[in-house]
Symmetry: C2
Subunit: 263 residues, 2 copies
């Protein structure tokens, strides 16, 4: 690992300490329900989830929320903010696996398989709902519709990973970058995490680690997209100016938005 990255990594782990638990948002007033993107709950379901919820967790940009190898007792849902999942090799090479936005489940793998096989870091300041892992069996026993939702979310994550794998494995650098930005823009839009022309809160290092490219080459590739006026760098992030253009370069079709469940 290059020293710079090692230091950044250690800092982020220490940063985890800054995380605190406190309950603030009531489930019946969950801010996510207002998006047409999410399905509606029955009062019964809301009651269960409310009782299932243990508290809230806030994390600052750069904080590690979950660390590979940990046996966390918790399961989370993103309430606000951006994060990402990643794995690193022994020598520090990092691969970002996917991004986390409001409504996403965090730590399901750990809850089901025992140990976390990837780490999770906050990209902006985040708020997460905290659930007790050990209550998950009860959810499956007494709330089939919610269990179905959990599985739906897992299948959706799998679908996205399939697409990323296709991208990293078979697309050129320019296509990959285009796909990623179109994808992120599309996801952000559907949870209104981007109002109009906000920037996606990532650095070129994140993009490089997602695409499996070096920073230098990522920079040169993004430059080309910027020259074509498809993207622009501002506000510590990447603004997407022409989603259709990007999707076109990548040969990518966004799925029709389906009604997604969440917890």
């Amino acid at each position: 690992m290059e020293p710079r990255r090692l230091i950044a990594f250690l800092t982020s782990v220490i940063g985890e300490q800054s995380v605190q638990a406190k309950k603030t948002t009531a489930c019946r007033a969950c801010p996510l329900v207002k998006f047409s993107h999410f399905r509606k709950f029955t009062p019964d379901e809301v009651a269960f989830v409310a009782q299932f919820k243990r508290g809230e967790l806030s994390a600052e940009r750069g904080a590690t929320i979950l660390l590979e190898g940990a046996h966390s007792a918790h399961l989370y849902t993103v309430l606000a903010g951006w994060g990402f999942r990643y794995k690193i090799l022994d020598d520090g090479r990092r691969q970002i696996l996917n991004y986390l936005l409001p409504g996403d489940l965090v730590g399901l793998q750990g809850s089901l398989l025992g140990e976390m096989q990837h780490s999770v870091e906050a990209l902006t300041s985040m708020t997460l709902c905290v659930f007790e892992r050990e209550n998950l069996p009860e959810l499956f026993r007494n709330h089939a519709s919610l269990a179905y939702d959990v599985t739906w979310i897992a299948a959706q994550e799998e679908r996205i990973l399939d697409e990323h794998l296709l991208s990293v494995g078979r697309r050129s650098a320019l296509e990959r970058a285009s796909y990623l930005l179109a994808f992120l823009h599309h996801r952000a839009k559907s949870v209104a995490e981007l109002n109009g022309h906000d920037a996606i809160p990532i650095t070129q290092q994140h993009i490089a680690d997602t695409l499996g490219l070096s920073i230098v080459h990522t920079n040169k590739t993004l430059r080309k997209l910027a020259e074509r006026k498809m993207i622009a760098w501002r506000d510590r992030g990447c603004a997407v100016l022409d989603v259709d253009g990007l999707a076109d370069v990548a040969g990518w079709d966004a799925e029709l938005p389906s009604l997604r469940p969440f917890i």
Copy 2:
């Protein structure tokens, strides 16, 4: 798409016709339970699964079992044989996403999200158990333990995709090849699909399309592993001679085998 591959693709689709449905294996005599790898069922669960099962499907090597874009009414479990999931870009570039072995679920994404987002092809002759997609909600309603298993399997698949993505994104050609072969050997062993020193039934083209490399470079890379006596080509497949050596080259640790559920 190069003509050869286009022809191979069309042939495989036509080959789908050769697939027939007939019920032969009773669930209570399911051949998979004898492996310590799978968890045991209660009589109640077996009864439900038996009634859930619609028949069996056999496919020859090269046959397409599911095609991207299809709205299949079915969900499958692999009973015997090898297969793989893949996606292709418009111009024919193919990315293999994962391999299917006995006990794996096929078509869950399609069942939950509506439409298949990837294709599935048989690598050897295969037998699959056929289930009706529309019975899935009943499974969630009345058999929480099985619903939990389905989710477990989905999480496991996600975990594997995470590892593949790390590999394709960040490992060198030699490391990638080593990881893939160690991984496949490990998986095959755990369902006794390889007896001792059988070969993994794939071609170098499959490996290339999994690793995101060209076939020529894949060949040269595999050659190096063969020279180190870690693998050998025989019986139309790849024999792994030194799993530990491969895992070592890749810097990969196989998970401790956990008791896996299946349907």
